[in-house]
Structure formats: structure tokens, C-alpha cells
Amino acid sequence: MKYKATIHIMPRDEILDPQGKATLLGLHNLGLDDIGQVRIGKRIEVEVEAKDKQAAEDKVKEACTKLLANTIIEKFEFELN
């Protein structure tokens, strides 16, 4: 069975997000002052071959913890369909 997983990886809340900070500065340079609190992370789309949904979930979880997310400074969640 082929599943499509969408993985969302964001910096942990208390961790500094330099990219978000610089982008906020960029938005304000553009005059878009009503936008604040910019946080930037990754969105990863993958296809997973697995016998059932549970097996697919386990595989995506393993991929995230082993490579896709740096669990020390990032948190991740994913949807499977």
C-alpha cells in the first residue's frame, strides 16, 4: 500500500529562531507591520510503502527521529493519508 505523509518540523518554542527574526525584519522593511512572531520550519512530503497505516506511521516516525528532525532543537508532527 502507498501512503503520502506530510511532516511538519518547527524549532522548539523556547529555542531562538534566527531565520524567523530576520524574515520579520524583512517584512517590516516592506511596510507589513501588522505581521509579527514569525517562526520558520520545514514541511516535508514523502511517499511511504507499507502493508498498513500503522506500519507506515512507524516508518515515518523512524525517519523523523533518525534524520529528518533534530529532536534536540526541533519538534515534529505528521499526517498520513
Binding site: P18, Q19, A22, T23, L25, G26, N29, L30, I40
Partner: protein, 224 residues
């Protein structure tokens, strides 16, 4: 020709370029600040290498909206000369002054080393009088993988807009000589009007006798 080099927050090759143009090529060079709206009467504007805004979001994406860029775009649209080196090239694609985009290197790693490039365009100021051979010029980037859609590539080739391609030391254009996966080994392009140039390698880093490589000076000398 009066040259201007723009400093953005995070630019770190601005002084190198000013030094090369002023000390090595004896040109009049003015230091421009990204927050100003005044090009101080310069004929030729350089957008230097570096990590403007930390290269966050996309290299050159945020710098593209610095106040001075309105004047740089107007200058270019009037036919005035503009050249972006490395980060400056990325800014020009973000600003739509040059076609295509610079993606992450195929290796996904930053690369700093000497490469060889061979001139292509016969009608661009920077290449038209250059001898057709390999020039050793260093690169230093993480997002130098030139990309454009097939129709744009055809347009660039038909209009003689590709200025340099990566090659081996004998000038042969090979996959092995392509350091970052760029389409058609493209290292630099210019616009249709042949007045806006973008180049990933750093000629200003090979322009001084002290550094035992002068190939970059030959390229910059074409602009004088």
C-alpha cells in the same frame, strides 16, 4: 566609469570588491549603503557577495527589498550597468532583473574552492573581448545551483545571454567540472539588454599579485 559597491547587512565581500576595483584596477569606487536612496551618480553598480540578512529564507530574498534596490532596479531598467556577484547574483534573480534562480548546491554542502570557467556570450561587455580559454576563479556558496525552465534556457542560449560556464582546466565543459549541479554548467548570465550581469564565482578573489592568481583581474578589467 564610476563604480558603486552596495553594502547590505550581512555583505562580507564588499570591501574585497572595492579593494580589487580601486587598488588592483585603479578605478573610482564609491561605497553605497543599503538604507540610502542615492546611487551618487555611479554608472556601474555592484551587488557584492556575502550573506545578506544571513541568507535566511532564501539567499538575497530579504536584501532585494532594501531601500536602495528601488534605485538599482530603476538604474538597470534605464540601461545602466549592474553586476551581482554570488549573493548579488541571487538578489538580481529575486528582483526579477535576471532570469532563473539559484537553488541549493546538489551536494547540499557549502563549497569553497578554485574552479575553472569559460566565457560564452560574444555580445556581453564582460566576455565579448575575453580570450576563449579556462579562467581559474574561486567559488564560495551554498546556493549556486543555477536553474531555469527549459523555455527560459532556450531564450538565454538564443540571445547569447549565458556569460560563463563551468569547465575543466582545458576549457572543456564537463559534468565533472560542474561544482553545484547548475543547468548547462551555467556560472553566470546577463539580461536581454546585456547591461545586467550575474556571476556566482568571485573574480575579486583572484585579482591581486599577493594571492598568486590574477585570472579574476582579467575579467573585471573588461568592465573598465
Amino acid at each position: 566609469m564610476k563604480f558603486g559597491v552596495v553594502t547590505f547587512p550581512g555583505s562580507n565581500c564588499d570591501h574585497d570588491l572595492i579593494y580589487a576595483m580601486r587598488e588592483n584596477l585603479g578605478q573610482e569606487v564609491v561605497h553605497l549603503w543599503h538604507k540610502d536612496h542615492d546611487l551618487q551618480g555611479c554608472d556601474f553598480i555592484f551587488l557584492p557577495g556575502g550573506f545578506s540578512y544571513g541568507d535566511y529564507l532564501r539567499s538575497g530574498a530579504i536584501a532585494r527589498f532594501s531601500p536602495i534596490m528601488d534605485e538599482v532596479i530603476a538604474h538597470a531598467n534605464k540601461g545602466g550597468y549592474v553586476m551581482g556577484i554570488c549573493n548579488g547574483f541571487q538578489m538580481l534573480t529575486e528582483a526579477g532583473l535576471l532570469d532563473g534562480a539559484l537553488l541549493h548546491n546538489a551536494s547540499t554542502r557549502f563549497i569553497c574552492k578554485n574552479v575553472h570557467i569559460v566565457p560564452a556570450s560574444r555580445s556581453a561587455l564582460i566576455t565579448q573581448n575575453l580570450e576563449h580559454k579556462a579562467y581559474k576563479v574561486p567559488i564560495a556558496h551554498g546556493e549556486g545551483n543555477y536553474f531555469c525552465t527549459p523555455d527560459v534556457l532556450k531564450k538565454l542560449q538564443d540571445n547569447d545571454q549565458v556569460i560563463f560556464r563551468y569547465c575543466d582546466e582545458n576549457g572543456r565543459i564537463t559534468d565533472a567540472a560542474n561544482p553545484n549541479g547548475s543547468l548547462d554548467n551555467i556560472a553566470g548570465v546577463c539580461n536581454v539588454g546585456k547591461n545586467v550581469f550575474g556571476l556566482m564565482p568571485h573574480p575579486e578573489r583572484a585579482a591581486d599579485e599577493m594571492l598568486a592568481n590574477m585570472d579574476g583581474r582579467k575579467l573585471l578589467a573588461q568592465l573598465v
